[in-house]
């Protein structure tokens, strides 16, 4: 029961309170780039969720089974990038073979996840927050993906409606998007400090 509560709290914490996009400002590039349409944003969110879960789990194992016993924590960044890039390649091949329709709809975004800093950030955060339980690390990684999906979908929903709004000319395009992102972040600041 105790573990379950911890896991649930971890999940809610990473989704809402420590949301990677809103409070850590990670993964801003796809957050602004792919949030034009809500269906594409959702697809990107799912892809990130999948990769981040895989990468978080793999890097946790790598860290605890190889790097820490061998005193090689300095190589953490390079190793993590290696794991993430490999995982993305693997996912890409798998999707191409078994879900070609999904693969087509992801298009360029799937390889782009490799350079999504939210994923590397999450892997490093797991280490920084001193998570020493595999289950917790998996839940945290999955939650981070869900948090990203929520963030990007909210943004896409707002931007779809923003297209119809009469935005002042100097603010059209990127400026209003950035302002929207700032206001959204402010709204999510309300959760700050609820857990942890």
């Amino acid at each position: 029961m105790d573990t379950l509560t911890t896991l649930l709290l971890t999940f809610i914490s990473i989704v809402l309170i420590n949301n990677l996009v809103f409070t850590k400002f990670l993964g801003i590039c796809p957050y602004l780039g792919v949030s034009g349409r809500i269906d594409m944003a959702f697809g990107m969110g799912l892809a990130v969720t999948f990769v981040v879960t895989l990468a978080g789990t793999l890097t946790f194992l790598l860290d605890h089974l190889i790097l820490i016993p061998m005193n090689l924590e300095v190589t953490r960044y390079v190793c993590y990038i290696l794991v993430i890039a490999g995982a993305v390649q693997l996912v890409e091949m798998y999707l191409k073979k078994f879900f070609p329709a999904l693969y087509d709809s992801f298009g360029i975004f799937l390889p782009l996840i490799t350079t999504n800093c939210a994923i590397l950030g999450l892997c490093l955060f797991i280490n920084l927050w001193g998570i020493d339980n595999l289950l917790e690390a998996v839940v945290l990684s999955f939650g981070a993906g869900i948090g990203f999906t929520i963030a990007i979908c909210i943004m896409a929903g707002i931007r779809e409606n923003l297209d119809l709004a009469d935005v002042p000319k100097p603010l059209k395009g990127a400026p209003i998007t950035l302002i929207t992102a700032g206001l959204l972040t402010l709204a999510f600041m309300g959760f700050a400090g609820m857990i942890r």
């Binding site: 798998y94 191409k96 073979k97």
Partner: protein, 308 residues
């Protein structure tokens, strides 16, 4: 140790120190290097096996066709992008000539890849705006202060006196991906050097005054008007409208006047003296050349003030 080192010159000392440093560094670095190499090897192997196991056989022709396409993803062919068109054209040869930006050259290249012979599908199509009225030539019943889009203005019967001509709010320029359409002094004007013939503007115009015309020659003659009112009404509202006087139809059989509006038959179009005479005789100067090097049309006469 220090006693021994004092007897040795300073340069030699630094060399030894550097060597010790490098050795020290090597002792620290080799486990890291070995781990990284091992990791990289493991991942490379995993990906190699995966790429063999999860290999997808893609028709090599798709790749080849995709290479010869212009890769503009303009959607003129009816598919979302060039990749989708490449996939479709391989299975259905009827789709061969659909790429208008690529034109005949691309069609021929695709045909070569697919081992097909194609006949000349005719000249490339380019849009012509069937209106030549600039701001000064038009008559306005009231000042329009609504949403600045042709579709919105077209919903109002009184936006312009002319119910057929160009509204000049630029719905067509907004959809043009190639910066080939501009509103110049209240009239949509095609930049034929940039136009790829994708036909997006034709769909965007709420008044349907843009037509895709086979450009058999560099510059094409056109009756730049869409007004179907009688000559008298047309004259009152536009300085350069077609009044349906049939003077051009008397000169050349290429002109046909229906509903008080002259039209050219582009299937038989060929430059001749007759149509030059028709151009010069046209009382309102509505017959004009359109094309990359089209001559300036005759200046419009002042519209006659409506009789009270």
């Amino acid at each position: 140790m220090t006693v021994i080192f004092t007897n040795i010159p300073a340069t030699l000392l630094s060399v030894i120190a550097a060597q010790a440093g490098i050795q020290n560094l090597w002792h620290c670095a080799w486990p890291a290097a070995a781990t990284m190499l091992a990791l990289a090897f493991v991942f490379a192997m995993a990906l190699l096996i995966a790429s063999e196991k999860l290999k997808v056989r893609v028709d090599a022709k798709i790749e080849q066709v995709h290479k010869v396409l212009p890769n503009l993803d303009c959607g003129a062919c009816g598919f979302p992008g060039c990749v989708q068109y490449a996939k479709a054209v391989i299975n259905d040869t009827n789709l061969l000539g659909k790429c208008s930006p690529g034109g005949l050259k691309t069609a021929q290249k695709i045909a070569q890849i697919l081992n097909l012979q194609i006949s000349d599908s005719g000249p490339v199509k380019r849009p012509i705006v069937h209106c030549r009225a600039h701001t000064g030539d038009k008559t306005y019943l009231a000042e329009y202060a609504g949403i600045l889009s042709c579709t919105a203005a077209n919903a109002l019967p009184t936006a312009h006196a002319c119910k057929f001509g160009c509204l000049g709010f630029g719905d067509c320029t907004a959809v043009c991906k190639f910066d080939a359409l501009h509103i110049i002094d209240g009239l949509a004007t095609v930049d034929y050097n940039k136009c790829t013939g994708c036909g997006a503007c034709v769909k965007a115009c709420p008044r349907n005054i843009i037509e895709m015309v086979p450009f058999a020659h560099e510059n094409m003659l056109t009756v730049a008007c869409s007004n179907k009112e009688t000559g008298k009404v047309t004259r009152q509202m536009c300085a350069v409208g077609c009044i349906g006087c049939k003077l051009c139809a008397k000169q050349s059989e290429l002109f046909k006047v229906t509903d008080n509006l002259a039209r050219l038959d582009y299937t038989k179009y060929a430059p001749s003296e007759k149509i030059e005479t028709a151009l010069n005789k046209c009382p309102t100067g509505v017959i004009v050349y359109r094309g990359p090097s089209a001559p300036e049309p005759r200046p419009a006469k002042k519209p006659k003030p409506a009789k009270a």
